[in-house]
């Protein structure tokens, strides 16, 4: 590799959306490094203004096909907080249950379909159908299981329609709950096989310590509810997110950059693991241990492993939730809470598969949204991806152009960016000067 390089990856493939990576190196020093999002920003915040309380969750569900339950739940939580709607414990448990399965849907898509080709030296999942059919079949079976779970509870495999403010428009039956438990128990064999495969892959050896932020609570591995917690030692109530989470507009991107205690932070499965690993099920902790994932982990490439560990946790915890819901008995009287339109402000914070997701709505005295602020996990990770890249590129500067390009793309993919949520895809071209 020459001392001077100009890398422009445009687009980086196998990420959700569209983006560019530009790296200029002179005398082995980075002169310019930009992770650029060229597409127009999402206008969902503007679209929400003037909407009544039963509309935002269905609108924001359409922001993304692979985070639709997360947007639905963040939206519902924001409205429920603003209008003081109190969903039943049954509703919360069912939301947590369906939430696990969007996490599985998304993590399977990323680990097996988008990241696995890197680890097997393939350009996409398609060659793996011939070379690693078992891996592809496991991916398909697990994704189908999660799809079916979301459909049974949410009414659709994507963009769920039964999950609404106050509760559910229809409850699953006891028979369906038992069917779901059977489906969950059936997937352990595939998880064990996946574990053996993942033990054989080489994760790039790269570490950069940063701030890791996720929600957290004392009772469980938080994905639906909790305070916002940082590995830098602070935790705040989710309603006060603005006290710590800051946003700024940067010239090269249509998505805002975020920071908290430092100039960047990471959200997502690895951040959740670093903050809440002790709350994982014992089984999931064993999988983590077998795969060499230990907290604190500062290797962003291990985000893929954290995602797999979360799949195991979600399967375990779903069985626990089903048992609890069935023990309590499905109660039609607890299906919907009372809803009264009115004024107020509420913040809904959840863990989308890619990390912290914030919806902040203010309703006016006509019961219409006056102001909406959405902060998307991929938007939070942009600045941290740039900082990782600034540390990674000098460390591999003596490698070939193709190797540098692949490493950069793999790093971006490790974050599982959903650029279409925060804006829209990533592009990489490498030119020697």
């Amino acid at each position: 590799m020459a001392d001077n390089i100009n890398i422009e990856i445009s687009p980086v493939s196998r990420v959700e959306g569209h983006g560019d990576l530009v790296i200029n190196v002179k005398d082995k020093k980075i002169e310019e490094l930009i992770f650029r999002i060229p597409e127009s920003p999402r206008f969902f915040e503007a679209m929400l203004v003037g909407k009544k309380c039963d509309e935002p969750s269905h609108i924001t569900s359409r922001i993304c096909g692979i985070c639709s339950v997360a947007h639905t739940c963040a939206s519902i939580k924001a409205t429920e907080k603003a209008l003081n709607i109190k969903p039943s414990r049954q509703t919360i448990n069912l939301r947590k249950l369906v939430y696990h399965h969007e996490n599985i849907q998304s993590n399977v898509l990323h680990v097996y379909f988008l990241a696995a080709p890197d680890f097997f030296g393939a350009g996409s999942i398609i060659p793996l159908i011939k070379t690693h059919p078992e891996v592809v079949n496991i991916a398909l079976r697990t994704k189908k299981m999660a799809n079916d779970m979301v459909r049974i509870i949410g009414g659709r495999a994507v963009h769920p329609i039964r999950i609404v403010i106050g509760g559910f428009t229809k409850l699953p039956t006891e028979e369906e709950m038992l069917k779901m438990k059977k489906m969950l128990n059936a997937c352990y064999t595939d998880l064990e096989k996946s574990l053996e495969v993942l033990k054989t892959i080489n994760i790039p050896d790269f570490e950069r310590e940063t701030e890791y932020i996720s929600i957290s609570n004392k009772d469980e591995y938080a994905i639906y509810d909790g305070d916002i917690k940082s590995t830098d030692g602070w935790a705040i109530n989710d309603q006060n997110y603005l006290d710590k989470i800051k946003e700024k507009i940067v010239k090269h991107s249509t998505s805002k950059h975020c920071w908290a205690s430092r100039d960047s932070y990471m959200v997502g499965a690895l951040a959740r693991f670093n903050n809440n690993h002790e709350k994982l099920t014992e089984n999931a902790r064993e999988y983590a241990s077998e795969l060499g994932l230990e907290a604190p982990c500062y290797n962003p490439f291990m985000n893929n492993i954290a995602q797999f560990v979360e799949i195991v946790h979600s399967v375990d915890d779903s069985i626990r939730l089903i048992d609890r819901i069935l023990a309590d008995g499905l109660d039609e009287d607890k299906r919907m809470a009372d809803i009264k339109e009115g004024a107020g402000r509420g913040v809904g914070v959840v863990e989308a598969p890619r990390g912290l997701l914030i919806h902040d709505y203010t309703y006016n005295n006509k019961g219409r949204i006056e102001k909406a602020n959405l902060i998307i996990p991929t938007g939070m990770n942009y600045a941290n991806i740039e900082n990782d890249m600034k540390a990674l590129v000098p460390a591999i500067i003596d490698k070939s152009e193709d190797e540098i390009k692949l490493a950069c793309e793999m790093l971006v993919r490790a974050y599982d960016p959903c650029i279409s949520c925060s804006t829209h895809f990533l592009n990489v071209k490498l030119i020697n000067k």
């Binding site: 959700e16 959306g17 127009s40 999402r42 206008f43 969902f44 679209m47 309380c53 039963d54 609108i59 359409r62 922001i63 993304c64 096909g65 692979i66 639709s68 898509l109 379909f113 996409s124 999942i125 398609i126 159908i129 011939k130 592809v136 398909l140 994704k143 189908k144 799809n147 459909r151 009414g155 659709r156 495999a157 994507v158 963009h159 329609i161 039964r162 609404v164 403010i165 106050g166 428009t169 229809k170 299906r335 919907m336 809803i339 279409s420």
Partner: protein
């Protein structure tokens, strides 16, 4: 009170019929929502009461599972194909190979694009008949409605679907 219809769901009969019609797209990105708009219109028609009609949103991999379960799938989507905005292109089973080679961009399947999903279906040797009805969009910027040129294609698309499934 809100949400009176507690049976709200469009997928209760998912995977039980021989023909499935699925629309893809984002209805908040103007013409990208053509697939979803057609599905919404089909749901209003009595003649489609017994037909599996699915709002696929923007999740492409689900098509793989439908392909495994259905004998025939009709896909409606905004696709960057054809010359002019509003052009409706029907890609029959015999033309799917050519479509895959063209690597045309489906505008809505952001997780795996339509060509990738079709390649996987082919590689997995899943035996299902696929018809794609693609519409070249005029505008895919943010917006809650189709451009008039695209909107007026809906009746013709519905007629084409009826003909395809002998309704």
């Amino acid at each position: 009170m809100f949400f009176k219809d507690k049976n709200i769901s469009d997928n209760d009969r998912y995977m039980k019929t021989e023909v499935t019609i699925i629309g893809f797209g984002n209805k908040y990105r103007s013409d990208d929502g053509i697939g979803i708009r057609v599905i919404e219109e089909l749901k209003k028609l009595d003649s489609f009461k017994e037909v599996e009609v699915i709002d696929g949103g923007t999740s492409g991999t689900d098509l793989l599972f439908l392909a495994k379960e259905c004998k025939k799938i009709i896909i409606i989507d905004a696709i960057d194909i054809g010359k002019d905005a509003g052009q409706v292109v029907c890609i029959k089973a015999s033309d799917i190979e050519e479509f895959i080679k063209g690597d045309y961009k489906s505008l809505s399947l952001h997780d795996l694009n339509l060509c990738d999903v079709l390649k996987i279906i082919r590689e997995l040797k899943i035996d299902t008949e696929i018809l794609i009805i693609g519409v070249k969009p005029e505008n895919i910027g943010f917006g809650e409605s189709l451009t008039p040129e695209i909107e007026k294609k809906i009746p013709g698309i519905i007629t084409r679907i009826k003909k395809e499934i002998n309704l």
